[in-house]
């Protein structure tokens, strides 16, 4: 997975495949993002091609982190397999998802 961080906008753009190997870099990016000020933290998933259950688990951890920091976590424009995964797992009911 490739990650681009826009601290000013409080946004991470993820591309490629989000799997268990991305645990450490993702965790670090998320904690960096929560260290910024602002209400919303946005994960742009529009270029993410694939997510596995480990990736879903990491999104849950990010959601936890957001709750603790009283921030809104927004998942933006999931598509393809990622969107299907969110449907099957009803993750759409756990997160704010913007199309």
């Amino acid at each position: 997975m490739q990650i681009q961080v826009d601290r000013g906008a409080g946004q991470i753009s993820m591309s490629g495949e989000f799997t268990f190997t991305d645990h450490a870099p993702f965790k670090q990016m998320v904690s960096e993002l929560f260290a910024t000020t602002g209400k919303s933290v946005i994960l742009d998933l529009s270029k993410l091609d694939f997510i596995d259950s480990a990736g879903l688990g990491m999104l849950l951890l990010a959601r936890d982190e957001a709750k603790k920091n009283d921030r809104d976590l927004i998942l933006r424009r999931p598509s393809g397999q990622v969107k299907r995964m969110f449907g099957v797992t009803k993750f759409s009911t756990l997160f704010t998802i913007e199309d």
């Binding site: 596995d52 879903l56 009803k90 993750f91 756990l94």
Partner: protein
């Protein structure tokens, strides 16, 4: 003397290592009695008491086998057998292949030294022996040998325990005998495949008896794999059997399991879960899904495979999550395939995944005469899963087949299968190994 005092102090600094190794067995091989005595006195002064002596090369080799030394001090020039030959022979013995061998030599010929190391010497000591050098090298090599042995013992113990745990986990799965008994009673055939990515996995499946007309089949997949995920499968197995009164009701069972797992699993961990009640009397499936990959259903001999779409939060994330029971027709001639994400998400040698759609295509190409395990074999082959491949994720596949009735029942589908020339092997044998997984 001042030099010797200095050595003793240096040795005291390393008391701990010394204590741990002073029981070490040391074999001293030298044809010169004076040399043996000198080495002995140096070692005894340092409390090495477990010493044995060999007076030549041949006896050095024999005593290595009987005494099983932790360290061999070997003179190079012995009349009956050279130190180099002893080295080579000791290294060729599997029991002695790793012991430290300190070779004592007066030579500084680089070529000969090279031969010595190539022959298996761990280190060398110059002759005449310098006491501090002797002790220093003996201590270093015994410590190294000790750590090596401890690591090896640890690894052996862990792999024995993992092996035992793996067997326990396999015992959670339905045995081939109970599987074929269930299947026979229900007038169908069931094939299964389960293979963890390492010794222990996070997938679990099972069959739950309900009544003469129906049984339940579940497939669970915990996030991650390895010991952590495996321990969770044991928890889940116990929980499922705790709620026997809910086995006929997929949504209610999932809700209950979710409430329990929410309290057990840390944030970020969950289990996907698919539960299907196979009601063969009514010719119906009732199922609920907690984020599991959708099962694939073929509803007649000529039917096309379709997904049994069902959604639900994976277990263990949100308290109070609601689940829905879905229904599908499951008449004779139908086939149902359950699988964990390890199958569609397996990256083949080109890094490509077969995906859910790819599985549909494979099933579409499977003619009705194929036995369930043959269908499973085709799916694995198409996904690129071979016996040699290392699986990145635990993989489970279950194929429930009503296309051909159980042996003994004569139906038109049996006749059809026979006409198409395909064999109907009944697999009662159980294959179980880490490479190929566990299958019936």
């Amino acid at each position: 003397m001042s030099n010797q005092t200095h050595i003793s102090e240096a040795a005291l600094d390393d008391r701990r290592g010394h204590d741990a190794i002073r029981d070490a067995r040391i074999l001293i091989a030298d044809d010169d009695p004076l040399c043996r005595q000198l080495v002995e006195s140096v070692l005894r002064r340092r409390n090495f008491a477990n010493l044995e002596f060999a007076e030549g090369g041949v006896s050095a080799l024999e005593q290595s086998r009987s005494f099983k030394p932790d360290l061999l001090l070997l003179d190079m020039q012995m009349p009956d057998m050279s130190g180099l030959d002893v080295c080579r022979s000791v290294r060729a013995d599997p029991d002695l292949a790793d012991i430290p061998i300190l070779v004592q030599t007066a030579t500084f010929d680089r070529k000969k030294m090279g031969e010595l190391f190539a022959g298996g010497a761990s280190d060398f000591l110059s002759k005449p022996v310098n006491p501090s050098e002797l002790i220093a090298r003996v201590v270093v090599h015994l410590e190294r040998w000790n750590s090596l042995r401890e690591l090896r013992n640890y690894r052996e113990r862990i792999s024995r325990e993992l092996e035992a745990a793996r067997r326990m986990q396999f015992e959670l799965l339905p045995s081939c005998a109970s599987l074929s008994e269930f299947a026979e009673k229900a007038g169908m055939r069931i094939g299964s495949y389960n293979r963890p990515s390492s010794e222990l996995g996070g997938d679990l499946w099972g069959m739950l008896p309900i009544d003469d007309g129906a049984f339940g089949m579940f497939l669970a997949d915990f996030t991650g794999h390895g010991v952590n995920a495996a321990l969770n499968t044991f928890r889940l197995h116990a929980l499922i059997h705790e709620y026997k009164n809910l086995h006929h009701s997929p949504a209610a069972l999932l809700s209950m399991l979710n409430e329990r797992l929410v309290r057990l699993l840390p944030p970020g961990q969950f289990a996907t879960f698919l539960y299907v009640v196979v009601d063969h009397r009514r010719g119906e499936l009732r199922f609920a899904s907690a984020g599991a990959p959708p099962a694939i259903l073929v509803q007649s001999l000529a039917g096309r495979p379709r997904f049994c779409e069902g959604t639900g939060l994976p277990l263990g994330i949100e308290p109070g999550a609601r689940y829905q029971t879905y229904k599908r027709k499951f008449p004779e001639g139908s086939l149902l395939l359950l699988f964990s994400d390890g199958l569609p998400e397996y990256p083949d040698s080109f890094g490509e995944r077969i995906g859910d759609e790819g599985l549909l295509n494979v099933l579409n190409a499977c003619h009705a005469g194929l036995a369930p395990h043959e269908v499973i074999d085709r799916l694995c082959a198409a996904a690129g899963i071979t016996g040699q491949a290392t699986l990145p994720d635990d993989t489970t596949i279950i194929c429930i087949d009503r296309r051909i009735a159980a042996p003994g029942e004569k139906t038109s589908s049996v006749a059809e299968a026979k006409a198409s020339g395909s064999p109907r092997p009944r697999r009662s044998s159980l294959i179980m190994d880490i490479k190929h997984g566990y299958r019936c």
